[in-house]
Amino acid sequence: MADNIPVGSTTEGAIQVGGDHPADARVSAPASYDVADFPVPHGREEEWRFTPLERLRGLHDGSAVADGGIRTEVYTPEGVTQEQVGRDDPRVGRAGKPVDRVAAQAYSSFEKATVVSIPKDTVLTEPVRISVHGQGGTAFTHQVIEIGAFAEAVVVIDHTGDATLGGNVEYLVGDGAKLTVVSVQDWDDKAAHAGQHTALVGRDATFKSVIVTFGGDLVRLHPRINYAAPGGEAELYGLYFTDNGQHQEHRLFVDHDTPHCRSNVVYKGALQGEDAHAVWIGDVLIRAEAEGTDTYELNRNLVLTDGARVDSVPNLEIETGEIVGAGHASATGRFEDEQLFYLMARGIPADEARRLVVRGFFAELVQQIGLPELQERLIEKIDAELEASV
């Protein structure tokens, strides 16, 4: 596919055996809850080099000030509780510390954290729904989703409207629990949203994260996986549709520091329009003690028009040979005129041909996500994005 990579796009990526944690080298300061521990980024730091800082609307330099212009509503099915708690609550900050300035800013600035608890052994038949709706304001939020041992739940977090949001989410997944979380970024065109989603996966627990990003001027999310005990499994899925002028950045980090855990990462994105920019970073670290690890990560991008840019950087670092499997793949390809010609030469009109190819591109991922109500919504949304184009 080498001759098919769109102009300006990059695919880097490395598998390193041994060595000195490049994944750690990506951060310019040690993880901390305190924003003061992070220098204001200037843009050349490893973790900020792809991000247009000026479009963070001040989330990175302290100039963004919360004004209450974002409304959060939580719908909890029977048996599920929600509380507003302070920073001193033991559950807050437990999954992991903020690792960059924006995440630390959000952590240092939120007033109350929302803790949603699904008690142990509870199997939910309908999702917990969290709706975050921006009314042009700025907010720093912190949510903790806590699921007890052997409970099963789906949580859907919807982001809509216009907002400047520094929002962190933590997932505390109890032993043997199954938690699926869908975070949909369906913002208006002007919104800026950055945050860290940190999961602590318990013994034999399954955590499934689905990140869906369609909207916003700038979205920069940082899903991180930590394992509390052996047997944990993380499935990280992402789907993005980046158009005209949008910057959508997904930076993942899976920290295999515990034996016999699994992770599987699949992110796919389509891009169209002038200055659409998607960034995908996939850092997977298998530490020496993580024997029996099984991990795979994949990022694929489909560039529909000229002028869009993708930076895709899978990075796998392995410190032990005693693993089940480890691999990564990244590819960025153009929607080709030859494909369009071939389909049209069979009578299929141009817009339908385009839809066919883009739906096909996402089809397998949508199936893997495996939530029927979401599947339909995703396909509708993808079609709508295509319709809005060109």
Partner: protein, 251 residues
Amino acid sequence: MATLEIRDLHVSVEADNATKEILKGVDLTVKQGETHAIMGPNGSGKSTLAYSLAGHPKYTVTSGTVTLDGEDVLEMSVDERARAGVFLAMQYPVEVPGVSVSNFLRTSATAIRGEAPKLRTWVKEVKEAMERLRIDPAFAERNVNEGFSGGEKKRHEILQLELLKPKMAILDETDSGLDVDALRTVSEGVNRVRETGEVGTLLITHYTRILRYIKPDHVHVFAKGRIAESGGAELADKLEAEGYEAYTKGA
């Protein structure tokens, strides 16, 4: 009766910032039910003719006309041409990742026929057509042309020909890259379509081999961007014996 009329067709491409004329005045009339073989050396412009008729955007028609039953083909978009009845089996069929053969076939049949084929009869129709062309049923779920061998791609083109039933079939080197068995299978497919009497066939080939299976009514020698000589099936025998040298001499 459907008729494709090509008159004084001139076509150029943009290459390295220069315009290069490839077709230099092609005249040809193909009627429904007829089979015309176009034979010529590499680089003589055979594929250019095929692509130009299908409307590939790389090729610019600088003068001349193409009509199908009096309708101006050159005015039509690529998909309109296909719906008007022009079918191009490509020399190098394109891979379309993520789109299954069955979805592709159904979508194109729906576009060409103007309505979605009834599911039950459609499934049967496809299954039978695939069997006749000895295409493994598992191909229905594979992505279009992705990882297909050269021969599999050509069978897939002929499968489309059989299902889409065009008025004019342009087959660009459908025989190349096929072993003898595959050549026979593919030729049988083309002949089934021809036997309906409802299609005009433009069989583009480099070799006479396929003409043992598909008997042309007319043979045209293509050289230097135009038809250099036309005749009956006997012209192919002459080419077989003498090659193209007589037509390529002189700049």
